[in-house]
């Protein structure tokens, strides 16, 4: 279902090439594909319309058809438009010259407010600030306990005294002044934007603490509803920013676009996990790629820079191009790659990977087995697998706790895969083809395994 945009354009532009000129009809057709891609990513229907109008205008003006690669050209325009929409004026949290600075968190039930409050506290603490957490959710069972546990974990005091949320919030400010804390983060109960009573309560909390920043916490898995939520909260408490949570999943996150478009408020932070350190600034360009199903190449590069030894990697790449890539090289690179995190997450960041592969369950244990098999080989065997005869196979299997069948299969697959990768790397060297997909002619069913891939 989640074909990347470039695949979608393929058909349109092949026809186009023979004509060399974009007609109105072509543009409409392209627009339709963009619309589909955005809708599948949960961008709100109305927001899609506005975006398409802007994109069409730009595509019309630009010399798309004459460019060498019109598909890439259009994708670039779409991508740029999304980045522009998502980004805009990036800004940091305000700091009140007269402390404490107050940050108010609000949002739907279960969106991640309490977790975000603790993450933000940790973030500020690391930035040399002295935050205080205020638990103003007196509604959900054990909400304050939850915040207290989290506060303890990050070493930030939690205040929650008073009989109603407004009083608790006000007391929190007093407590901060007493304790000399210069930031106050107010966690509120989850509420539906149509719940008049609770929205009034939120306004009352706002009036009581006069926040410097009011942040809406939005779940990245939210669908069309995101615009209604954002509009209502923006109206109630004059939002100044947005926190997008649960981005560690595989939701395309079109809600980010919707929320940004209707509120005009910047998305300031991203929640990328349940742990309190899983919190980062929001990167519009990554989000744009993600919404378009283009993978998260930038994150991948960042991770790679930390994990890989550049020189060794360069040597390995050259070997790959020359077709001299050995099992030993593979072992070394694989070990570095595993430092980057679970393989499945990495694959999800690659652009243009078919969804069958993207969604396949990856068993990290299999990687360990492969590693064990290679480790049971001698250096000679690793660089020249053809010497591996029957008795060597048995030895390798025994040494790695696998079967000769496993060893056979690894050898066979390695041959196929390295062949394919060689081809792939050559294509890239010529610079003609960006990494927007698997090598031409890639056919997963050609791989070993009984009956090929049935996913």
């Amino acid at each position: 279902m989640f074909d990347s945009l470039s695949d979608r354009f393929e058909g349109i532009f092949t026809r186009l090439r023979s004509r060399g000129k974009l007609t109105e009809k072509d543009i409409d057709e392209i627009a339709r594909e963009i619309r589909l891609a955005l809708l599948e990513a949960d961008v709100n229907v109305r927001v899609v319309k506005a975006l398409i109008a802007r994109i069409k205008e730009r595509a019309n003006g630009a010399e798309v058809a004459k460019s060498l690669s019109p598909a890439q050209q259009v994708i670039k325009i779409v991508h740029e438009e999304l980045v522009a929409t998502l980004g805009g004026d990036a800004r940091k949290l305000s700091v009140n010259p007269k402390p404490p600075t107050v940050v108010l968190l609000a949002g739907l039930q279960g969106s991640g407010k309490t977790t975000a409050a603790a993450k933000l506290a940790r973030w500020l603490e690391r930035d040399g600030k002295r935050p205080l957490l205020v638990g103003a959710d007196l509604q959900r069972p054990a909400a304050v306990e939850q915040l207290k546990v989290l506060g303890e974990r990050v070493g930030v005091p939690v205040s929650s005294t008073g009989s109603d949320p407004v009083e608790v919030a006000r007391n929190g400010i007093d407590e901060a002044i007493r304790l000399g804390r210069n930031f106050v983060i107010v966690d509120t109960a989850g509420r539906l934007q149509i719940d008049v009573e609770l929205m009034d309560e939120l306004r009352a909390i706002r009036d009581a603490v006069n926040p410097d920043d009011s942040l809406l916490v939005v779940d990245a898995m939210t669908g069309q509803e995101a615009v209604n939520v954002a509009e209502a909260f923006a109206e109630t408490v004059d939002l100044t920013g947005i926190v997008l949570t649960k981005l560690d999943g595989d939701a395309r996150g079109g809600a980010a676009l919707s929320v940004k478009e209707v509120t005009g408020r910047p998305i300031m932070f991203a929640g990328v996990g349940e742990k309190l350190e899983d919190f980062e600034p929001f990167y519009p360009d990554r989000m744009a790629s993600r919404i378009l199903g283009m993978g998260d190449v930038l994150t991948l590069i960042e991770k790679a820079e930390q994990a890989f030894d550049a020189e060794q990697a360069a040597v390995a790449t050259e070997k790959l191009r020359q077709g001299e890539f050995t099992l030993q090289d593979f072992l070394e690179q694989m070990r570095q790659m595993r430092k980057m995190g679970p393989l499945q997450n990495l694959v999800a960041m690659l652009p243009g990977v078919p969804k069958e592969l993207r969604n396949a369950d990856v068993d990290e244990g299999e990687l360990a087995r492969i590693e064990a098999i290679i480790c049971s080989m001698t250096m000679e065997e690793r660089s020249n697998p053809t010497v591996i005869n029957g008795s060597r196979r048995i030895r390798i299997a025994q040494g790695s706790g696998t079967t000769t069948q496993d060893v056979n299969q690894l050898l066979k697959q390695f041959k196929q895969v390295s062949q394919m990768m060689k081809q792939f790397s050559r294509v890239n060297k010529k610079g003609k083809r960006k990494l927007t997909g698997l090598p031409p002619g890639f056919d997963p069913s050609a791989l070993g395994g009984p009956g090929g891939l049935k996913l």
Binding site: L39, D42, V45, Q109, G110, S111, G112, Q139, P141, A142, A143, E145, Q146, L147, V149, L150, Q193, I194, M221, G223, Q224, E225, G249, A251, R252, E274, L300, I301, A304, A313, A314, T317, Q333, M337, L343, Q344, V347, L350, V353, L357, N359, D361, V362, D363, L367, I370, D406, L410, Q413, F414, V417, M421, N428, G431, K434, L435, L447, G449, P450, L453
Partner: protein, 385 residues
């Protein structure tokens, strides 16, 4: 250009290479486990028995005696006849954008024209039905309009749509009840991504079962999230039912293990297991869930429902959630929560279509009474309204 691309190319190559190497093996082992899994005992030679399953039901459990007392007294006390259960129609968000209002053709009057079909498509998309299912629903309505005569009036559109959606849903399942074991304890396992309403729904279902005269035990198998067990404990306290909990950060398997023991020992009718929220992309967490399920399955016939809790505001990711949870723990039903908001929860149409898993219950608020059975006709009406 090619310089700056080098790292991407390189990483891409290695990631893919490693991936392609493991892939055929995964397919193979999956097939093997499916074949074997259908008939064989839960013990698989390839997977060593998890530690917790072997661990004795021990000190980690804490069943507050006063709760056990309470449940005994409840059995004697005549339950007041439950209040009228809330109805979907009365409880869905009052100010939700009117679906019919989106269909300009209703205002224009006259026949259903091409623009009307576009409007219908857009309205369905706005309800999170998703492109694929939307197109199929629109086709279905078109067929109905044709059958009603080539000159179907625009006025008929809402009815045609309602009928189409109702029949689709009815085709998935006729039985949307939660099943009880013929004998011995019944176990229902609550699963889902983070923050959707698993714990609250656990409490809501417990309340209903208690009202039906069943002896209920709640298992707080979320040992991970801060104060998750406290949250469920508060509910158990309010409802007056027993609770089994473990140490914070402890093994959820041990909690389930103990809950199963306690259920048998105390002749509990229904055990509801509240699990930690987990994103379906987290391989290890999904495996942990499989393990919890296996522990329940050691008591033959006990596991009757694995319920995927889904937030009505979820977009197309709901489909992926259903696919992954179904693949890991064979979900038997869906609970659609937070339908008291303005979100329409249309993704369940796609889920039922694609996976044939019925929605069984609907959450309509944060209170213990805010739960109703899922009714296809009512849901269709609420969607089209």
């Amino acid at each position: 250009m090619s310089e700056s691309l080098a790292p991407i190319v390189l990483i891409g190559i290695f990631v893919l290479a490693a991936f392609l190497l493991v892939l055929p093996r995964i397919v193979r082992s999956r097939e093997a486990s499916r074949d074997g899994g259908a008939t064989a005992a839960p013990s698989r030679p390839s997977t060593p028995p998890p530690l917790a399953e072997a661990a004795p039901a021990a000190a980690t459990t804490e069943v507050p005696p006063e709760l056990v007392e309470e449940i005994e007294s409840i059995e004697v006390v005549e339950e007041a006849p439950p209040d009228e259960p809330p109805r979907l129609r009365d409880r869905i968000g009052k100010t939700r954008a009117s679906f019919a209002g989106l269909l300009g053709v209703l205002r224009r009057g006259g026949k259903i024209d091409a623009a009307a079909w576009d409007e219908l498509e857009e309205a369905l998309l706005l309800a999170d039905v998703g492109m694929t299912t939307t197109q199929s629903v629109v086709d279905g309505v078109k067929a109905r309009a044709a059958a009603a005569g080539a000159d179907a009036d625009a006025d008929a559109l809402p009815d045609l749509l309602r009928a189409e959606i109702t029949e689709r849903l009815e085709a998935t399942a006729t039985d949307r009840s939660l099943h009880h074991a013929a004998e011995g304890p019944t176990v229902w396992l609550m699963v889902g991504v983070n923050g959707v309403g698993k714990t609250t729904t656990t409490a809501k279902i417990a309340k209903r079962e208690i009202a039906d005269g069943n002896k209920v035990l709640l298992a707080a198998a979320d040992t991970f999230r801060a104060a998750a067990a406290d949250q469920l404990a508060k509910w158990a306290d309010r409802l007056g039912c027993a609770l089994v909990r473990g140490q914070d950060g402890g093994d959820p398997g041990a909690v389930v293990f103990d809950a199963m023991d306690a259920a048998t020992a105390r002749r509990t009718d229904v055990v509801i297991v509240d699990t930690a929220g987990r994103l379906h992309t987290k391989v290890n967490l999904m495996r942990e869930l499989e393990k919890l399920k296996r522990i329940v399955e050691r008591t033959p016939g006990a596991l009757q429902e694995v319920l995927l809790v889904l937030d009505a505001s979820t977009g197309q990711n709901g489909l992926t959630q259903a696919r992954e949870f179904a693949g890991a723990v064979d979900i038997t039903g869906v609970v659609l929560t937070k339908l008291d908001g303005t979100a329409k929860g249309g993704v369940v149409l796609a889920i039922e279509d694609e996976f044939q898993v019925p929605v069984k219950l609907v959450g309509l608020g944060e209170g213990a009474d805010d739960l109703v059975p899922f009714d296809p006709a009512e849901f269709a009406a609420a969607l089209v309204e």
